[in-house]
Amino acid sequence: MAATASPASLDSAPRIMRLVAECSRSRARAGELRLPHGLVATPVFMPVGTQATMKGITAEQLDALGCRICLGNTYHLGLRPGPELIQKAHGLHGFMNWPHNLLTDSGGFQMVSLVSLSEVTEEGVRFRSPYDGDETLLSPEKSVQIQNALGSDIIMQLDDVVSSTVTGPRVEEAMYRSIRWLDRCIAAHRQPDKQNLFAIIQGGLDADLRATCLEEMTKRDVPGFAIGGLSGGESKAQFWKMVALSTSRLPKDKPRYLMGVGYATDLVVCVALGCDMFDCVFPTRTARFGSALVPTGNLQLKKKLFEKDFGPIDPECTCPTCQKHSRAFLHALLHSDNTAALHHLTVHNIAYQLQLMSAMRASIVEKRFPEFVRSFMGTMYGDPTLCPTWATEALASVGITLD
């Protein structure tokens, strides 16, 4: 079934990305996004604040860490508190009092994560609300309508998402449907001058399907592209190949947003492969389990070995948690009934992610990105050559060797 190639109803979409530097070996780029709520340096990691809040930390704390863009979730916010209320509150920015940029996803991912509560048709996704049993239809038009009410700076198309572990005709169906839904989203979008609608490339782990999707979607003149349908249960070997295929066919002058990626190693490799934007719940979620992210991996601070460790999580980290508190203190807090440790760790883990992206960006600008990658892998794995095979292969494919 061929996709109907309806021309975009937009005039030439604004170029929101300015390239500042490019790695001469790999596909890594350093850039700047020009968004309604300010500039965002890329590559960028976007923390996820699902329900109009960043899991216990204030807007002021998030701002102080240097975050200039974070995520809200259309599915959740669409249910509670709902788009009408948020519109009355002057949009999501006004409701949560966040002065910088917001990206909202379309609600599509919940199709996969809440699959027992949803049903997909050409019309849209039918959800049964877990709160009151009510049925809602999330169509491309409805998703855009909600996101228009939310007023986020970047909005995502509603895509037909299938888990990366699914094979067979469903993957192809979802890919073509996503193209049709992209066109419906573009047509329904009321505020193209205030909100940037991104397309989402699907096609699962099938190179041909993905290539088709890339070819079709890049005909639509949207301000940016996301690479979707990955970061599920697929093998890393398949994962990186799909990312590399996607970045090789996406326009250079538009941002590439790789959805759901957040482990440090994955971030470094995918920057090398040419991605600019990332989001993931991992750093904030793992904080709430007492895990602190460090250049060598992570520290499980609940463990007894930290009981009398009076150093900070990371002596090189400039976040407030590392400036003020010791591992021993956090360990004690984690064993009390006080939730304070979770806040401290959330602050640190977000800081870790943002500092990692900054460091990568600086190395790209200063033309030493390959050295950065080698050094990063060395610290993380003890020796650059001990880096996981998939990562070594992915880096090699773009000209970065680790020995």
């Binding site: 109009a52 809040t53 899991k55 930390i57 509670r80 508190p81 209320l85 509150a89 409701f95 064993h335």
Partner: protein
């Protein structure tokens, strides 16, 4: 027992002897510390004369031993011991405890056994006055377990200086925000606004609502509003107008309501900031009222808000 007090902690029961207790103080190096005492008499509904006498005797013994150990400790030279007044409900024993403790070189006094439900304090107010009358003017008096605004004022009138701030914490835990007024000198414009019902906090509440929260089966008071209530869903006002806390300067009742309904951690963070600021503001107004001899006015205002 004569030599120790049983304390139950995370690891189980601990026999807290004087030496163990002082060893902990040496490690903590506090500026002030409450002395080990026998408060069992205060836990019971009615105390027997015998039990009250024992609690006073033991507490004085603990105090003398702790003072002796403090003298021998270099690390604790800068720390100040607070003597604990015991004696249950027995006036004679309370007075004895006060007089004897006052003879020791303590830096302040903690009046134990006045905590409990509101009626507990009421019946013991007379006791409280009698005890503070025996204490030196130039040393601070602390009371534990009293934190509600109306109870705080009753204790201040009877000579107490320091209180614990667990009340704002309890309010936060039940998803509520302190909104009671302590502005006993409002400007005329403000009074007019209040009379027009813009701020409902001034109105007396007829019912006390019971809210079950984790570990906090306290009833909601009329000093607060419950942000979980549906009426706050679209209320874009701050918790308290003119409050300068981070929450009131940056967020709305509607947002807090949303955070509570969605079980988000930030709800507690923002509410705690507000509740502390409000509570400390109340204490500031107490100090100002005392300085200008207007405590009665403040008390009247607070009592208007007790349901």
């Amino acid at each position: 027992s004569l030599r120790s007090v049983s304390v139950w902690g995370v690891g189980g029961r601990v026999e807290m002897t004087v030496s163990k207790f002082m060893a902990i103080q040496q490690a903590l190096q506090p500026d002030w510390f409450q002395c080990l005492s026998d408060g069992e008499a205060s836990c019971e509904e009615t105390t027997s004369m015998k039990r009250a006498r024992k609690s006073v005797d033991r507490s004085l013994l603990f105090l003398d031993n702790c003072l002796r150990l403090q003298e021998e400790s270099e690390v604790l030279q800068k720390s100040v011991i607070i003597g604990v007044i015991e004696g249950g409900d027995v006036m004679e024993e309370r007075l004895r405890s006060a007089r004897e403790t006052a003879k020791r070189p303590v830096g302040g006094f903690l009046l134990d056994g006045f905590q409990g439900n509101p009626t507990t304090l009421d019946t013991r107010l007379h006791l409280l006055s009698s005890v503070t009358a025996e204490l030196p003017e130039d040393k601070p008096r602390l009371v534990s377990g009293v934190s509600r605004p109306d109870e705080v004022l009753e204790c201040i009138e009877r000579g107490v200086d320091l209180f614990e701030s667990f009340f704002p914490y309890q309010v936060t835990e039940r998803g509520c925000a302190l909104t009671f007024s302590f502005d006993y000198q409002p400007n005329p414009e403000e009074t007019l606004l209040q009379q027009n019902g813009t701020q409902e906090e001034i109105k007396c509440v007829d019912q006390i609502k019971k809210i079950k929260t984790t570990g906090c089966n306290q009833e909601m008071t009329s000093f607060e509003i419950n942000l979980k209530e549906k009426k706050y869903q679209e209320d874009f006002n701050p918790l308290v107008r003119e409050c300068s806390c981070y929450c009131c300067k940056n967020h709305t009742r509607a947002y807090i309501h949303h955070l509570l309904v969605t079980n988000e951690l930030l709800a507690g963070v923002l509410l705690m900031m507000h509740n502390f600021e409000h509570y400390f503001g109340f204490f500031h107004s107490i100090r100002e009222a005392l300085k200008s001899d207007r405590l009665a006015q403040l008390k009247e205002l607070i009592h208007k808000q007790v349901s």
